[in-house]
Amino acid sequence: MKIADIDAINFFTDRDVVADPFPYFAALREQCPVRREPHHNVMMVTGYEEALAVYSAPESFSSCTSVTGPFPGFPVPLEGKSPAEIDALIAEHRHKLPMNDQLPTLDPPSHTASRALLMRLITPKRLAENEAFIYRLTDRTLDALLPRGSCEYNGEFAAPLAMLVVADLLGVPDEDRDTFRDVLLRKHGHGEQKATDMVGSADTKMSLNPLEFLYQRFSEYITERRANPREDVLTSLANAKFPGGATPEVIDVVRVAANLFAAGQETTVRLLSAGVKILAEDQALQERLRASPDLLGNFVEETLRLESPVKGDFRLARCPVQIGGVDIPAGTTVMVLNGAANRDPRMFKDPDNFDLERANARQQMAFGRGIHSCPGAPLARAEARIGFRRLLERTRNIRISDRHHGPAGARRYEYVPTFILRGLTQLHIEFDPAEGT
């Protein structure tokens, strides 16, 4: 697809761009890697070096609107204001912005403290234990799916995996995990739900809103473990301190725990199905990876590069700043497009091609860069590596379902309709189980 008029395209609302944003990114980058789009006046950063420059300058760019950008945008006009005035306005208004208590929207110094708290929850020891859990859960899920010969991979494999992996990491007790599954995966009722699933929550209505549910559950866990410490993960969560030794308020711990669920769900699901789609479309690639599982690490990096599950992230310029030779006035909303930077031909040769042996695939920036770089990256990588590996080892071949997606050469895929996430709504696959699995 060649783009005739870039400015006719509204990246934030056009459905065609949701299905395939890459020709638009390329057209923008060809004109200039830092270029304003006219519909919402957002400065679009599509170059690799330029994206890196924005992510590396938190003193010049606030993250207060990082998730929402121009929707609804900053509550008061910022154009023409001085850096000191902008700083004052951010301080005055940031608490009214969406997700203002979540890590992605915080700036230093409060970001530094909250992130340190989060990193104390996902220690190397926890990650190692969690990886063993990922392995067991992957196999248990495949035990149920493989004999059927087909599945809808997102709903039946990836979503439950991504959710239960975070639940395990944070030490959610086994007996509560079904409730988490019901509430967070939005499968309510249907006669299966037992009264005991609602233990500890007086009002079932409240528990139907996922974020409210998480806040309520983790408040209970943390409060209870502070009163009655045990030998478990939740107790170490409850006892985690800020750097410097201060004890966080219960709500501070609850927020970072909820943030892990919020950030580790949709993104991981899209990464997993992007990888399995690439595999299912290419039998030769499957054979290579079955024969050389060592290549799976680079397979994951190349999938992240090519199909970056987070298309991009917003920043708000606090002061006049130059990026890639382009002047960005104070008060400008900037969108750093990870998915575009990852296909910058100046950085990645033949960028639209999947290349299992791409030497610099690890330099992809699907997880962002700098102080906001995704703290859950090791988790996502472990889920992908183990999920792909076991699926390959336990099948002889994996195929796209022609019945759901159309025949090879004329496939139909549907992508999640947001300007932040990149990924398949559903992925129907078929497979032949390997001997003896």
Binding site: S56, T123, P243, I371, S373, G376
Partner: protein, 66 residues
């Protein structure tokens, strides 16, 4: 105090470089590198933060013996 980066673990998030650019930089290969052999006292707290905030747990501190 000295710091080390495990090249096998570093994935180039650049979190350390964002937190203390005077101590860490991203090389042209995209991975983090330590710029100084000895961490000056005024930077030690920030380096400690960088160690904790590295998503890959790739940075480690070596305290000087007496």
């Amino acid at each position: 105090m000295r710091v080390q980066i495990d090249d096998g673990r570093c994935k180039g998030h650049g979190t350390c470089c964002g937190l203390c650019p005077q101590i860490f930089e991203l090389t042209s290969d995209g991975y983090a590198r330590v710029l100084v052999s000895e961490i000056p006292p005024e930077a030690q707290e920030l380096v400690q933060t960088a160690v904790e905030q590295c998503p890959e747990g790739a940075i480690s501190i070596e305290e000087d013996g007496f």
